[in-house]
C-alpha cells in the first residue's frame, strides 16, 4: 500500500458561481481547499462553503498573480495545487498527482502542467495556446509569482528543480477561457489596462509595439490547427499589442512620438472601393500601401 500525499488546493475567485462547481467537483480529493475570494457578489462563497472550502476574503485587485504569493502560506500541506476558478481537472488527476510526487518528488519541487484552453467552445491546438505549460503544482515554499499578468512564476530552488510534463497522455489543466470572441476581447482589454508598464520614457518605442503586433499575428495564426478561430484570435492578440502601446504612451504623459503610419495593425484585406480612397495612403506603411496598390491596379486591368 503506497502512502497518500496530502495536497492543499488554492483557488482565487471573483463572481465565479458559473465555473466553480466544476472545479470543486474535480478536486474533492484535496486534503484542504482554500478559496481566496475577491468580494464576490454572486453565490461563489455559498458554493465554496457548502463544499467544505475555507474561504478568505481579499480586496479586489487588477491582477491575481501578484497577490498569489501572500496566500501560499495559508496552505497547511507540503504540496500545493493552484487553480483559477475557470479551470478544472480530469477524473484521474489525483492519481496522476500522487504518481508525480512518488516518482519525482525527491528530485523536483515544482511541476509545469500543460493546459487545454478553450475559446468559443473550441479547444485550441495551435495559435500559441497549447501546450501552454503552467507552474501550478509545487512543494510549499519553493515557488513565487511575479507582478503583472501571465508571467510564469519563479522556482526559488532553481530551474533544475522544475519538471515539465510533456503531452500527450499526461495530467493537464482544463481551462474554459472564453465563451466567445467578445469576452476574449473584453478580457484582453482589461489585462492591457491593468498591466504594469515600464516607467522609463527612454525605453518606449511605439514602433516596437507595432512590430510585436506583426510577430504576434504570425505566431498565433495557425488556421490548419484552429480554422477561422485562429485568425480571430491572432487578430485580437495583434491588436492587443497596439493597444498596449497606446496605453503605455499615455501613461508616460503622451510626450513620446507616435508614428501614425504604424498605429494601424495589420491590413488583412483590401478595403472596399469606396473606403480605400478615403484612407490617406501617405499614412499607410509603405509595404502595405504597395500591396494595396498592386491589388487595385490588378482589379482595374
Amino acid at each position: 500500500m503506497t502512502r497518500e500525499h496530502a495536497i492543499s488546493l488554492i483557488v482565487h475567485t471573483r463572481n465565479s458561481e458559473a465555473t466553480l462547481p466544476r472545479l470543486l467537483d474535480s478536486t474533492r480529493w484535496a486534503a484542504e481547499r482554500i478559496l481566496i475570494d475577491m468580494q464576490s457578489r454572486d453565490a461563489t462563497i455559498e458554493i465554496a462553503q457548502a463544499a467544505g472550502c475555507r474561504v478568505l476574503n481579499t480586496p479586489v485587485v487588477d491582477a491575481v498573480d501578484p497577490i498569489r504569493n501572500q496566500y501560499l502560506g495559508e496552505a497547511s500541506q507540503e504540496w500545493i495545487l493552484v487553480l483559477d476558478s475557470d479551470e478544472y481537472l480530469a477524473a484521474d488527476a489525483h492519481e496522476a498527482l500522487q504518481q508525480l510526487i512518488r516518482e519525482h518528488g525527491a528530485n523536483f519541487d515544482a511541476f509545469a502542467l500543460p493546459r487545454f484552453n478553450s475559446v468559443a467552445g473550441h479547444i485550441m491546438r495551435g495559435s500559441g495556446f497549447y501546450p501552454d505549460h503552467q507552474v501550478r503544482f509545487f512543494r510549499k515554499g519553493t515557488v513565487a509569482w511575479q507582478s503583472g499578468h501571465h508571467h510564469l512564476p519563479t522556482v526559488l530552488t532553481g530551474p533544475l528543480r522544475l519538471r515539465r510534463l510533456e503531452p500527450p497522455h499526461c495530467l493537464h489543466i482544463h481551462h474554459e477561457n472564453y465563451v466567445d470572441v467578445a469576452s476574449f476581447l473584453e478580457r484582453q482589454l482589461r489585462y492591457a489596462l491593468t498591466d504594469d508598464y515600464d516607467a522609463d520614457p527612454a525605453n518606449f518605442d511605439f514602433g516596437s509595439y507595432v512590430a510585436e503586433a506583426y510577430a504576434e499575428f504570425a505566431r498565433r495564426h495557425e488556421p490548419l490547427q484552429d480554422g477561422e478561430l485562429s485568425t480571430a484570435v491572432a487578430t485580437v492578440l495583434a491588436w492587443d499589442r497596439i493597444v498596449r502601446g497606446l496605453i503605455h504612451w499615455e501613461r508616460l504623459g503622451r510626450q513620446q512620438p507616435l508614428n501614425g503610419a504604424f498605429s494601424l495593425p495589420i491590413a488583412l484585406a483590401v478595403p472596399g472601393k469606396q473606403t480605400w480612397k478615403t484612407v490617406p495612403m501617405r499614412n499607410v506603411p509603405r509595404e502595405i500601401s504597395r500591396w494595396i496598390r498592386r491589388r487595385v491596379s490588378r482589379r482595374r486591368h
Binding site: D92, A96, F116, I123, P167, P168, C170
Partner: protein
C-alpha cells in the same frame, strides 16, 4: 436511475457520434423512466466536448491518461449509479430494439447479465455468446464469421458474453466489484462473467436483433490482448466448463 449506458472511448469522434445516436434511439424505445449515457474519454488527444455529439443527455468523464477498459467502465458506472448498466464499445451501432430485448431476456430468464447478437458489416456473426475450449484457444466467439441468417434465434445461455455490449444488474456488478482492473485490455468481460457464474448468476444472450459491430475498429494491434490473455489463463485454466472447440 433505471439504466446507465457506459461507453469507454479514445478518439474516433465520428464513430462515437454515430454510436451515441443509435444508442439514444434504442434507450428511448426501452421506455424506461430514467436512462443516462456516460462517455469515458480515455485520454483522447483533444478532450471530447458535448457539442461534438449532438446527443442531449450525455455526461463525459475525462481521463487525461489512457486507462484499461475495466478502469474506464468502473469509473463510468460510479459516475451515474443505476439499477442496470449497459457497457458498450464505441464501434457498436446498437439496433433500436436490442436494449429492450436484452431487458426482456433478463426479466424473463432471471439473468443477472445479458449480451446481444452482434454482426459484422458482411452480415456474419461477430458475437452470439462466448464458448470455452479446453485447449489453448480458451474463450472464443461462438459461430464467429458464419452468416447470421443460419444461426438460431433462440435466446442462448452461454458461460460469458462480450463486453462490447453487456447489460448487468447493479447488484451483480457491485457484488463482483465491477470489472477486474488487473486486465489491461481484453478478457475482462469473460472474467466478469465467470466470476458471476461462480456466484450462481445466470447469463443470457438475446438473439432477436442484429447490432453492427466494427470489431476492434479502435485498436488493431495484434498483440493488444497478450497481457490480459496470460492473466486470464493463470486465473481460470481448469476452472471453467469445457464447451469444446466448434472448429475442432
Amino acid at each position: 436511475m433505471e439504466l446507465t449506458a457506459i461507453i469507454p472511448s479514445y478518439g474516433q469522434v465520428a464513430l462515437l457520434r454515430t454510436c451515441l445516436t443509435m444508442l439514444e434511439r434504442a434507450l428511448a424505445l426501452t421506455k424506461l423512466p430514467g436512462t443516462a449515457i456516460v462517455v469515458v474519454d480515455n485520454g483522447t488527444l483533444t478532450p471530447y466536448r458535448l457539442a461534438e455529439f449532438g446527443v442531449a443527455s450525455v455526461r463525459i468523464v475525462r481521463f487525461d491518461r489512457p486507462h484499461s477498459y475495466s478502469t474506464a467502465c468502473n469509473r463510468g458506472a460510479c459516475e451515474m449509479p443505476a439499477r442496470r448498466y449497459l457497457f458498450l464499445n464505441n464501434d457498436v451501432f446498437i439496433h433500436p430494439e436490442a436494449i429492450a430485448e436484452m431487458l426482456d431476456v433478463m426479466r424473463e430468464h432471471k439473468a443477472g447479465i445479458a449480451g446481444t447478437r452482434l454482426v459484422l458489416p458482411d452480415d456474419t456473426i461477430q458475437h452470439c455468446g462466448v464458448k470455452f475450449d479446453g485447449g489453448e484457444r480458451g474463450p472464443y466467439h461462438q459461430h464467429h464469421g458464419r452468416p447470421t441468417a443460419i444461426v438460431a434465434r433462440a435466446t442462448s445461455f452461454p458461460q460469458a458474453v462480450t463486453g462490447a455490449a453487456l447489460l448487468i444488474d447493479h447488484a451483480v456488478f457491485t457484488a463482483l466489484g465491477g470489472f477486474d482492473e488487473a486486465f489491461p485490455f481484453g478478457y475482462e468481460d469473460a472474467d466478469l462473467c465467470l466470476r458471476a457464474r461462480h456466484l450462481g448468476i445466470r447469463i443470457a444472450c438475446a438473439q432477436g436483433q442484429d447490432s453492427l459491430h466494427l470489431e476492434s475498429f479502435s485498436d488493431r494491434r495484434p498483440d493488444r490482448h497478450q497481457a490480459s490473455r496470460r492473466l486470464f489463463f493463470e486465473r481460470w485454466r481448469g476452472r471453467y466448463a469445457i464447451d469444446g472447440d466448434e472448429n475442432g
